[in-house]
């Protein structure tokens, strides 16, 4: 019941926002209210959640169409509840940012943002393959419009590229879903068993590799992340990419143990290459959002390393890192947007010296930067450490690559911090450019606060993701 409410509330909010002829401010207020109510609802779910139990919780089930064995089944496990929590928090911050800057065409905008949040929560809750596909595809529509209407100058080519990449992947997944579901006799993720079909496996893998993105499937990333409105980019990199994490863990690992083993090296090599490639490119980007975009690619590759590590440590690290990376990259994109609001640009060549006289901005950018580069003691460090420790079991080479990438992360993050905050002040930065205002702090500080809390207590997630004998580890522990 709670799970269905978590999905339906933003979707219903979207319909109300679209249908009700409210003025702009009222629409924004309504949308923010719905987003906050969603966070509250998630907290209620969290409080009542039994993390020691390995079964589906807060589940709801309805017949959809029985002759092919498709049903509406939703619910949460420990790890998916965390991903849903990431969604609602980042979603609320993003909608709040939209309200702060006062996006035009308000009813369409806020409706789409709420719709996106509902769809992502649906992805993390779906326990039926076709339902999963429904929400997975449903995410695409609002992103397409949000980027295409409210994005930057090259928004149309960015959004079309994004849609074509994603559609190609997800339609292959649809073919795989049909073959897998019909051969199993059910589409339920709970009841269906395992499959050894490599083609079906690859259909799923490619869909999630595009979404993450993994190395050869990242062509959409740069344009989509930089042309999107920053708060949408925050959702895209912070939250939507985590749909791939959920799919890889809950569909690929669990239902394709054989193919996972035979393709493990390929995926691990691609992920390791993507990690280095993304990090190197991040170091070369001329603007803040470019750095965050490619760093995002690197971090997602790292998470995939953890997922395919065939080790409980790597897997729980992947969940922790998914949450902390989601919060960090959302915060980064929002900060980039605030920079652009002040200076009109986020290119390092035109920025610099913003730290002087702007203590709040400097502190927040610094803290988020430190978290991004995974300074020891941070939640990101805990996540990366578990992932690397986990993937070490697959070969020390991956761990070495990961360690190198952490150094690269430090390099590009420090370059970003000094490019924005330090050096001499450049043309775009005016003396009167404001420090972060209260409204902006209200958006970013909660994200940072959660990150700091996770840094103090990373076990809150790692020990509450896969209780007991997680089905994931039992299937992947069979690896040679």
């Amino acid at each position: 019941m709670l799970t269905s409410l978590l999905i339906v509330l933003p979707l219903a909010g979207a319909l109300v926002v679209w249908a009700a002829p409210l003025p702009r401010e009222a629409t924004a207020a309504l949308a923010v209210l719905v987003a906050l109510a969603e966070v509250a609802l998630w907290i209620v779910t969290l409080v009542g959640f039994d993390f020691a139990s390995p079964v589906l919780q807060n589940s709801a089930q309805h017949e959809w169409f029985g002759d092919l064995g498709v049903s509406y089944t939703v619910g949460f496990y420990g790890f998916s509840l965390w991903l849903a929590g990431l969604t609602v928090v980042v979603g609320a911050a993003s909608i709040g940012f939209g309200a702060w800057v006062g996006r035009d065409r308000a009813r369409a905008y806020y409706g789409l943002m709420l719709f996106l949040i509902g769809a992502v929560v649906g992805v993390f809750a779906a326990q039926d393959l076709l339902l999963f596909y429904v929400f997975f595809e449903a995410m695409l529509i609002p992103i397409y419009v949000l980027v295409g209407v409210w994005g930057g100058p090259n928004r149309i080519s960015a959004t079309v590229t994004f849609v074509i990449y994603t559609m190609a992947g997800s339609l292959l997944m649809l073919a795989s879903i049909i073959v897998f579901g019909l051969s199993q006799g059910t589409f339920s993720l709970i009841d269906s068993g395992t499959s050894g079909n490599d083609w079906v496996f690859l259909g799923f893998l490619v869909a999630f590799a595009v979404k993450a993105p993994l190395l050869p499937f990242h062509g959409w990333l740069r344009a989509a992340y930089t042309e999107a409105p920053p708060e949408v980019a925050a959702l895209l990199s912070g939250v939507v990419s985590k749909a791939a994490v959920y799919g890889l863990i809950w569909i690929v690992l669990r239902h394709f143990p054989g193919p996972v083993n035979s393709w493990r090296t390929v995926v691990l090599v691609l992920a390791a290459a993507g990690l280095v490639y993304g990090s190197v490119l991040a170091f070369r980007q001329p603007d803040v959002r470019g750095v965050v975009a490619y760093s995002s690619m690197g971090q997602m590759s790292l998470i995939v390393l953890g997922i395919f590590a065939a080790d409980n440590l790597g897997l729980t690290g992947a969940i922790l890192h998914s949450v902390s990376h989601g919060l960090v990259s959302a915060a980064m994109f929002l900060l980039a947007a605030m920079l652009i609001q002040r200076t009109g640009t986020d290119r390092f060549a035109d920025l610099g010296g913003l730290a002087k006289g702007r203590p709040a901005l400097a502190t927040i950018v610094m803290v988020v930067g430190m978290l991004t580069l995974a300074v020891p003691g941070s939640a990101n460090f805990a996540g990366e450490f578990s992932i690397l420790a986990g993937v070490f079991t697959q070969g020390w080479g991956y761990a070495v690559v990961g360690a190198v990438a952490i150094v690269l992360a430090a390099m590009y993050t420090l370059r970003l911090i000094s490019g924005v905050l330090h050096r001499d002040r450049d043309d775009a930065v005016q003396e009167e450019s404001l420090d972060l205002r209260l409204g902006e702090l209200a958006l970013v500080v909660p994200l940072v606060a959660i990150l700091l809390a996770l840094s103090v207590w990373p076990a809150s997630i790692t020990e509450r993701s896969f209780p007991g004998s997680a089905p994931v580890t039992s299937s992947s522990a069979a690896s040679p």
Partner: protein
């Protein structure tokens, strides 16, 4: 109630024929109205009569559906009373009613009575066509609705495009009908039988003439379904015809042609399934390739939708090629959201056409979605429905079609279907892209003539209903599939 072959006075099951007869009656009354009713009240009279005709036909077909658990052959096995026909008649009635509503705002000055009479007559022909039980009634029904449509397409006599489209449709359509007739003759020659059931039982299946006849029947029906490579008339006719007629044709003609293809192949030619399922899947692939690639290049929205309808025919042919019960269900289910989205999509084109008074292209749609949010939102629903996105029945339809292909072992058809879907997303989204993502055009020629257009509640009702069906068929799959299952049960799978 199978009547013996020695017919003196065949017992006629009037209820089974009633949907077609109701529409014929409506057509006759409309024609009378064209003469007797003064010109001032002629439009409201004709619309009322034609609309009532479609409603009555739909209700009668629903009654037939309800009261026909078993298939009966009527009138010397020339007609079939069964749920497959009845369900398709309900669909045709719904599409026809929507077409009447879309036509209402089309302020034609002449031929008002004739227009609605022909629309009802075409609907009646389709109702007759889908219950055909032998090759004669099949041809009769086909010609009946085709001739009505030839005239309807050309009825805007003041527009050159309309006349051209009518002529093209007449020539190509007659060609298709001739092929169908020739194929029927060959089949009759090989087996000595006309009835679908009799052909199945008859000896002579080894005769090459028999297979040639079957192939020509498939080709003749493929013309009507505008499956490639028999689609050449489609873009020109869809573009030139009055938009309400295009809407009706794209939904209803395709529906009946595909349902009858399924019926004929499964009932009369089950022994040759290995041949025709390959032939149909080739047609499906060609339709998907040609429809999608050609649609990518279109600027005119009606032409784009025409090519999209070719590719949609490809998807539905996959369901037929599967040659299993699931495929039959898939086809009948697919037709519901497809038909609704198709009528709705052309209705939205009609709305813009009436505002501008000229052809609707991607360019003339620029920024229109923000000006007219209802039409814009509806356009979204229809395009997403065609492309098979979630929250529209189009997604479930594709899911069923691919499932049927998988069950038949045609996994490569799934792959091609999936690739075609990915391609189609580009042009379906191009329509909404131009409506929302390009700035409202400052071009003077896009200013609506004479201020804001008059409200058109009938058109909005039709579009609203199409939206409800397109979206509703996503949420209420089970009841619709139950209907489809019952309908398919009348076929000998």
């Amino acid at each position: 109630m199978i009547v013996a072959a020695s017919i003196v006075t065949p017992k006629i099951d009037w209820l089974a024929l009633s949907p077609a007869l109701a529409l014929l009656a409506a057509a006759a009354i409309c024609l009378l109205g064209a003469v007797l009713v003064p010109s001032g009240g002629r439009r409201i009279f004709s619309v009322t009569v034609a609309g009532a005709g479609f409603i009555v036909a739909g209700v009668l077909a629903a009654v037939v559906f309800d009261r026909t658990p078993q298939q009966h052959l009527l009138i010397a096995e020339s007609m079939s009373r069964d749920r497959l026909a009845a369900l398709t008649q309900v669909l045709v009635a719904g599409f026809g009613l929507a077409a009447v509503l879309v036509s209402w705002g089309d302020r034609r000055r002449d031929h008002v009575g004739e227009y609605y009479a022909l629309l009802a007559a075409a609907g009646g022909g389709m109702a007759f066509f889908v219950s055909a039980g032998n090759l004669m009634t099949l041809f009769l029904g086909l010609e009946w609705f085709s001739i009505s449509l030839y005239i309807l397409v050309a009825l805007d006599t003041h527009r050159k495009e309309s006349l051209e489209a009518g002529l093209k449709y007449l020539i190509v359509g007659s060609f298709g009908s001739a092929i169908l007739l020739f194929g029927s003759a060959l089949t009759y020659g090989a087996t000595g039988e006309l009835g679908f059931n009799a052909i199945r039982i008859a000896k002579g299946a080894d005769d090459p003439l028999f297979v040639a006849g079957m192939a020509m029947i498939i080709a003749g029906l493929a013309f009507k379904a505008s499956a490639a490579p028999f689609h050449m008339w489609t873009p020109d006719v869809y573009e030139g015809a009055p938009t309400a007629v295009t809407a009706f044709m794209s939904a209803a003609t395709k529906a009946v042609a595909l349902v009858v293809t399924l019926r004929v192949l499964v009932t009369a030619f089950p022994e040759q399934a290995e041949i025709w399922s390959v032939a149909i899947s080739v047609l499906a692939v060609v339709s998907l390739v040609i429809g999608n690639l050609a649609a990518l290049a279109q600027k005119s929205v009606k032409r784009l939708l025409a090519y999209s309808s070719v590719s949609q025919a490809g998807f539905m042919l996959i369901a037929i090629a599967a040659d299993n019960e699931l495929g039959g269900k898939a086809l009948l289910f697919y037709l519901i959201p497809y038909g609704a989205a198709s009528i709705g999509a052309f209705a939205v084109v009609a709305a813009r056409e009436r505002e501008l008074g000229r052809e609707v292209t991607l360019g003339t749609l620029e920024g229109w979605g923000w000006e007219r949010p209802f039409y814009g939102a509806a356009r979204w629903v229809f395009m997403l429905g065609f492309a098979g996105f979630p929250f529209t029945g189009g997604m479930i339809g594709k899911f069923y079609v691919f499932s049927a292909a998988y069950e038949a072992g045609w996994w490569w058809l799934i792959v091609i279907g999936v690739i075609a879907t990915a391609l189609s997303v580009y042009y379906y989204l191009a329509v909404v892209r131009s409506m929302y993502m390009r700035p409202a055009s400052a071009r003077a020629d896009l200013v609506v003539a004479g201020g804001s257009p008059p409200p058109d509640p009938a058109l909005e009702l039709a579009i609203g209903a199409a939206v409800v069906v397109t979206v509703g068929s996503f949420f209420f799959v089970q009841p619709l599939i139950d209907l489809a299952t019952k309908a398919v049960a009348s076929l000998p799978f």
